[in-house]
Symmetry: C2
Subunit: 281 residues, 2 copies
Amino acid sequence: MAAAFSGADERLAPWVVPAAGEGRVFTLAALKPSAKPFSSGDKARDEAAVDALALDLDAWQNLFYADRRHRLLVVLQGTDASGKDGTIRRVFGRMSPLGVRTVGWKAPSEAERAHDYLWRIHAQVPGDGEIMVFNRSHYEDVLVPVVQGWIDERQTRQRYAHLNDFERLLTETGTTVVKFMLHISREEQRERLQERLDDPTKRWKFRLEDLEARKHWDDYQRAYEAMLRATSTPWAPWIVVPANSKLHRNLMVATVLRDVFASMGLSYPPDDPALAGLRID
Amino acid sequence: MAAAFSGADERLAPWVVPAAGEGRVFTLAALKPSAKPFSSGDKARDEAAVDALALDLDAWQNLFYADRRHRLLVVLQGTDASGKDGTIRRVFGRMSPLGVRTVGWKAPSEAERAHDYLWRIHAQVPGDGEIMVFNRSHYEDVLVPVVQGWIDERQTRQRYAHLNDFERLLTETGTTVVKFMLHISREEQRERLQERLDDPTKRWKFRLEDLEARKHWDDYQRAYEAMLRATSTPWAPWIVVPANSKLHRNLMVATVLRDVFASMGLSYPPDDPALAGLRID
């Protein structure tokens, strides 16, 4: 199953990471985190558009659930403070809690480490009519271990192949996989982390380890770039979302998802003839 | 741990099912599904109150998660069309999808039937800082099997004891269990089922089996009454919500939950001294 959105929107094309073999060379540094390709240029209008899209997505979710012939997995990746939580709140926040599930992936437990690294992931993929949002994902396994040097180049390439094969299985068995990489600048991250630190209601989210990862900013950007190149596939391409602007980030993610739903050909199940004209007493 | 809300609100007291041994005799028929004990009498004002409460609950959820010393399990029980889905959408719908999880309990799978009936339930209870909403619950196991005659009286009493013991374990290890029984009249159910049938966007939700259960309305009311009497405990009392009015139902459930949060003494974790005055570069 080819991704539903490829080529559908001209504004999107430059932000879709080419699949290996497509010819186009991809460099993360060429994509500006401050860009706003989906913005109308008017802030109030963009805000109204996000509101409307969030309500649209709620309506789409209802139909998606009724149709029950598709499964949707949304992957959100990005550095600390890139806005994964905020995206979930704003883009999926008007859906009923019954209609969308999220998993925030943290360091694996002892039981999880006693299995292959996709074991815990596979257990959480969506079923028929379900929407699952991964807050971080299986892609953490080709980021931290690469930067930390826990796995070498051969092992990293092996993992890229595992991930592609896993997503091929998912897409060929009825799951649409939409992967967003939230792309912010080093300076934007600095501002957001400082803000988190200065706000007494947010300080508890701050972990000193976050600064360790920040020290390796360039290494992580390189690891992200290599990962995006190797795991953007025709069946599950990566979309880079310029995310310095939270408003733009929400607008772009919501627009892409709306287009994904719209391209699915969703419909209500056929009426049960036994129900025609039935009066309940 | 005694339930946080007992006695806190005068309007609530008549709707809390007395625990066995409390002396007060409980009959479900004495509670009017059309009552509106939490209503101000003004519809617009009640609607505004529900909106405000839903936003309050979102703020409480943030603090609840930050505090990380409690777990919250909300149980929603009620006949078909009693409004469980609607309650979840309206009361929990302003929380971020990251902050609340729901499980809709259906007939057990083959693997689930190969275990005790609380096995699948236990696997889904909330962890520290988590809110879980059960859409139907372990209480289905003392309703359908009782009405259908699959279990006899001795087995039913045994199950009541299992349920009480299970919830005692949960509450004594840090989980607050809040159980709502959404109480509608037979006529109200008729109207809602007919509406579902007549609406082309809702008809797919209608199952002919729903009418089978409706034929046994009185048996189910008796099974509910016996269950409420036997499983309302000091640690996890049942609250009957008069739910013919959707607006009142939402108002009452949201108010009770707000009071539960407010009684928990939630706070942000203490500041890490290592973060004092830290500037990020």
